[in-house]
């Protein structure tokens, strides 16, 4: 701005205007800058520092233990358990919600009148308060009361109690995860599909590609693949951050079967007060999410169509 100011003022005036504009710009950006340093940059450094100590919340002293927390972490079965559960949860939720959403988006892209209606319905879970809906889901998936129990009893099948059994509890959380995430991915895919112009679709139809699967395979998919990769990475980030459903429904149980990384960080740090150990876990979490985020930014800048 200041460099291309076209007032008729002299050079001195221009220079002093430039200086005062620079001051002004600093004043304008200072609050955000200071807040970002205080609430993002500094805390990340502090977490890394605390992870080298045996600090406990509420205690006044601490000892430096070097990499002690990290070696402890490597031999902590509960850490590996949490990581494994997170990985399983992600491995279930991400493919279903990404490819499910892709399939639904392709179906929906061809609809004219009903498209708005379906968009609204599929997006509803994304807007909802997950804490409240988790309570609802706890009844929907309950083995003794609720609609699923009625359905199974009606079919003469034995009751399935999702949150009493370890494996099933993880699947139960995954069901809620897919339900919550799929609409979000669907909207991103629909945005990607509109980029593929209708002329292109007509041209492909003239070329004899009028089969649904043909079009999906030779036209839609190649054009949509970069978008899909970004959505995939994005979904991984979301899935790895699973917390609300765990905190509301299982608290990591039964017997740690649904313990997830973020939930373990929370309980170790703020319930068990082991801040040093919790910080080491946080660093692992930070590295995992940070890697995915960088990957997403990198991929997104390269070729995704939204």
């Amino acid at each position: 701005m200041n460099t291309r100011s076209d007032t008729r003022a002299g050079n001195d005036a221009l220079r002093s205007a430039a200086v005062s504009y620079a001051t002004l710009a600093r004043v304008f950006s200072a609050p955000a800058f200071l807040l970002l340093v205080a609430t993002v940059v500094a805390p990340v450094f502090v977490v890394v520092l605390i992870s080298f100590t045996d600090y406990r919340l509420g205690r006044l002293t601490l000892n430096v233990v070097g990499l002690g927390n990290y070696t402890r972490l490597l031999s902590d079965p509960f850490f590996w358990g949490a990581l494994r559960n997170c990985a399983i949860y992600t491995a279930i939720v991400v493919p279903i919600s990404v490819f499910g959403a892709l399939y639904l988006a392709v179906l929906l892209d061809a609809r004219r009148q009903s498209r708005r209606f379906y968009e609204i319905v599929f997006f509803l879970p994304v807007t909802s308060t997950l804490t409240a809906m988790s309570i609802v889901w706890s009844y929907l998936l309950n083995g003794h009361i609720g609609p699923l129990a009625h359905l199974l009893a009606g079919l003469g099948l034995p009751p399935v109690d999702f949150f009493a059994d370890g494996t099933l509890a993880l699947i139960g959380l995954s069901i809620i995860g897919v339900w919550h995430l799929i609409g979000f991915n669907l909207i991103l895919f629909l945005a990607g599909l509109t980029v593929i112009s209708s002329e292109l679709k007509e041209a492909s139809a003239l070329d004899g590609m009028d089969g649904f699967w043909d079009r999906l395979r030779y036209l839609t998919w190649p054009l949509l693949a970069p978008t899909t990769i970004v959505i995939f990475v994005l979904s991984c980030i979301q899935a790895f951050q699973v917390f609300d459903t765990v905190a509301v429904l299982t608290n990591g149980g039964p017997y740690g079967a649904t313990e997830m990384l973020l939930h373990k960080i929370n309980t170790d740090t703020f319930t068990a007060l082991k801040a040093g150990y919790g910080s080491a876990l946080t660093v692992v979490y930070l590295v995992l999410i940070g890697t995915f985020s960088l990957l997403q930014v990198w991929l997104g800048n390269r070729k995704a169509h939204f």
Partner: protein
């Protein structure tokens, strides 16, 4: 002839059945919130009149529980965060987009960096500082880590950068101060971006459970998410209808905003995708 085949019907069948699963929890929540105790799980044979149950459950949710308080807390926190966020991010974005000054690149780098740091990772140090200054269990404590947003700065920066310089110059020649330029020229022009970000921010903070769970101890200050858990813990299974009425009321505001402003809402929430 193939056009009339089963394909569209099949597509509709798939879409309709997925739609059913998506919407069923909401329908069930609403129905459960309108039923008398015992009726929900089919144990009750003589059902009381529907309106009486609705009145009973919602009256208990609104009058006998601290739910209105939770909603008020949620509104104060969400609104306060959004307001401060807009003030700090629009000014910063304006400075980054339209001025050349030393430190500009550093600030921009920090903005970009902050995008890949998840909020939960910074919880402990902020918690320690809040404890040190006796700010745990306060509104300010909940709002503090979110008073600015790297994401908003980035978004607004993109927008302001493409805003014509000539208009700003003309305003300056008319004697407007930079603050006036931000308030009277930029903000009105930025309404679409602001609305989309507002929806993103409101959704995130109204639904947030992680941070309030760490900072808030007293029931009086709980936002709706945490309040629901308090309520569930206190009342147990007997007051199922009122619990579902509470859940409905907590979920309602965002769903209503969504239905009222669908396109903008979708835009706002999917911004996390571009983020």
């Amino acid at each position: 002839m193939a056009r009339f085949s089963v394909r569209p019907i099949l597509a509709h069948a798939v879409l309709a059945s997925v739609a059913f699963v998506m919407i069923y929890p909401f329908v069930w929540m609403w129905r459960a919130s309108t039923q008398a105790p015992g009726e929900i799980f089919g144990r009750l044979n003589e059902t009381p009149p529907l309106l009486a149950s609705i009145a009973d459950n919602y009256a208990r949710a609104l009058l006998d529980s601290p739910l209105p308080r939770f909603m008020l807390n949620g509104a104060i926190m969400t609104g306060g965060i959004l307001l401060v966020q807009i003030v700090t991010t629009v000014t910063c974005a304006y400075a980054l987009a339209k001025f050349e000054f030393r430190g500009r690149r550093l600030i921009f780098a920090i903005v970009l960096l902050s995008l890949s740091v998840p909020a939960q990772a910074t919880a402990l140090p902020i918690f320690i500082v809040l404890a040190r200054f006796d700010m745990l269990d306060t509104y300010a404590g909940v709002m503090l880590p979110y008073l600015t947003s790297g994401f908003a700065i980035f978004l607004f920066h993109q927008f302001i950068r493409s805003f014509p310089d000539e208009i700003i110059l003309a305003a300056r020649l008319d004697g407007m101060s930079e603050v006036e330029i931000v308030i009277r020229i930029l903000l009105p022009a930025m309404m679409p971006a602001l609305a989309a970000f507002a929806i993103f921010s409101i959704t995130f903070h109204w639904n947030d459970l992680y941070w309030p769970m760490i900072v808030i101890r007293s029931v009086d200050l709980a936002p709706p998410t945490l309040g629901l858990l308090f309520f569930r813990g206190q009342e147990g299974g007997d007051s199922f209808g009122p619990l579902m009425a509470c859940a409905t009321l907590v979920t309602a505001p965002l769903i209503l905003i969504f239905l009222a402003a669908q396109r903008r809402f979708v835009q706002g929430v999917t911004m996390t995708g571009v983020k």
